[in-house]
Symmetry: C2
Subunit: 341 residues, 2 copies
């Protein structure tokens, strides 16, 4: 490798340091010099991929992704994580980086800063963060250091925390409005775990849609699960007992909706006749259920790709190194049979 | 833990900060100091977590996973990859390692060896390898170096290549035998891409089951897809035209089966009345389709976990460093309505 760089330098008539700077895209450079080096490198078949160039700069060449460890859950098999990771993976791959997945114990404050200090990662995305103290403290410490990182789909009050999220308030508003527009008034809500800001946002959208239609909120038909299929199935008990109070129900993700519908069917319900359902995510399973799910499509893949692209461009573009990322992507209601169409 | 570090520092005759720097691999450091700290830590049974001790040994603390780049495919959202990765992730997490995902271009020979040389990974799992020349050459080069790696679910003739796979011949045999036992004789086969050994194994199992039942192989009802839903949907054209020649069809994965059934239904078929279907994988979607799929359950999660555990124990157990891993896990037929039950 050293020999090669020397040869490129000789052929281009520049110093080895200049070859490195051109091939690693560091600093200002006369265009004619840049072209001469690239031509020489090509002529000598000198290949420098992004990883090699990262090492040359004392970097890891890795984008880190920190995920919560959830016992017994096959995290990569959930639509939420698999789609976000696919999007991150695409951005990382196209820039020649590696994707370093690290697992954190949600009960302790994760030491993100040392990931950077030990040069395991050049930048970092945090998935599955919540408003519990340990998560907030870990993220806030990272923000203090002004290191390149981004939180996915969880809002923080701290203005120096970069976030890429979806607009769950708007998504939920449209989901509930769709049911109201179809003439339903008694609309229940099965929400997910309260430690996530996107659960609060769904609640805000739900309340707003009812309020705008002059429907009084009925706390007795608001249920709570934890985004798992099992928790949806468990909620079927309560929902079944409340059927007379319900025309329809809005459910915070497809997995819970699938569990709920299965539980209701086992108790003899006809769907969508006995209860209209609108779910959330538009996962692969949404169009396979019977009836197929009306659901809010969330651009998880695009969110992952956008976060990774923005972070990686921060690494190379000096003007952007201090920019806080703050992106909110729009959702889209997919209308199928479960809402009575 | 602080007390412990203090003790290590005292025994080694260095400051606590130096202990930290050695154990976290934050250099530079005189070799004699490094050795003294490690010896003191060992003597006091000071537990190094896997990552700290990796750094102390000049290791990355990462298990690498190399995946093929497939344009437009959300790789993590396919059941096959997501489950294997979940299993790998669980093993990696429980040992305190990181999981470094790297993408390879299937058209070129991937330089696995340099992943080890540049200390990006301590061990490596190769997913989605096939029998095409570039894949075989990359893997064979790696095998020559006797580095700790393992190929998932793809057989190689080279006896020094470690492999963890499922027994797809047995799985396919049982799938086809199930149809024969139910009285069907005209059994077609929609196989996946021919560059994967597990496609050949499925073919062997299919042929063997027919042969054992004295049924003559009919090449005209063997179809080929590429394991995607779209390719299953495309095959519906041919299968529909051949319906009179078919009682049933064995399909090499659930995704193709779902695409095929959708295509047949769009052409007016009643399922399972007009055609019995047995699929393969037992993905989440298998029980959601109408009719639910009879399918061969493959222990992908266990395969991933086993490969990662074996590799990581090779790293720490000196007796095992030269052992070739060769594991074949059993599958299980899940009987549902699509095969006419």
């Amino acid at each position: 490798m050293t020999t090669n760089r020397k040869e490129v330098a000789r052929l281009a008539g520049v110093s080895e340091a200049t070859v490195s700077r051109v091939l690693n895209g560091i600093g200002p450079m006369k265009e004619s010099t840049r072209v001469r080096v690239i031509e020489a490198a090509k002529q000598l078949n000198y290949e420098l991929n992004a990883v090699a160039s990262s090492f040359a700069r004392g970097k890891s060449g890795n984008l880190g992704v920190v995920l919560p460890h959830v016992p017994k859950v096959h995290l990569f098999s959930t639509y939420y994580f698999s789609e976000i990771l696919s999007g991150i993976g695409e951005a990382v791959r196209s820039k020649g980086y590696g994707l370093l997945l690290l697992f954190r114990d949600p009960a302790t404050v994760y030491d993100y800063v040392s990931l950077f200090r030990t040069q395991r990662v050049d930048a970092c995305i945090i998935l599955g963060a919540s408003a519990v103290d340990t998560d907030m403290e870990g993220v806030n410490r990272l923000a203090e250091e002004r290191l390149p990182f981004c939180v996915m789909d969880q809002r923080f009050d701290n203005p120096s925390v970069s976030v890429v999220a979806a607009d769950h308030e708007q998504g939920s508003y449209e989901a509930v409005k769709h049911l109201i527009d179809k003439g339903y008034r008694k609309i229940g809500f099965l929400n997910g775990s309260p430690q996530y800001s996107n659960s609060w946002d769904r609640m805000t959208g739900y309340r707003k849609a009812l309020n705008d239609a002059g429907i009084k909120l009925d706390e007795s038909i608001i249920y709570e699960g934890n985004y798992s299929r099992t928790s949806g199935n468990r909620a079927a008990n309560l929902v079944y007992a409340d059927l007379e109070k319900l025309d329809a129900i809005f459910v915070s993700n497809d997995r819970m909706a699938i569990g709920l519908m299965q539980g209701l069917r086992e108790r003899g319900c006809q769907l969508p006749e006995d209860l209209k359902v609108v779910a959330y995510d538009d996962s692969d399973a949404a169009s396979l259920t019977e009836p197929p799910l009306t659901t809010v499509k969330v651009p998880f893949y695009e969110m992952g790709r956008l976060a990774a692209e923005k972070l990686l461009s921060r690494l190379t573009d000096k003007d952007e190194t201090e920019t806080v990322i703050n992106e909110k992507l729009q959702t889209e209601l997919k209308i199928r049979k479960s809402s009575g169409n």
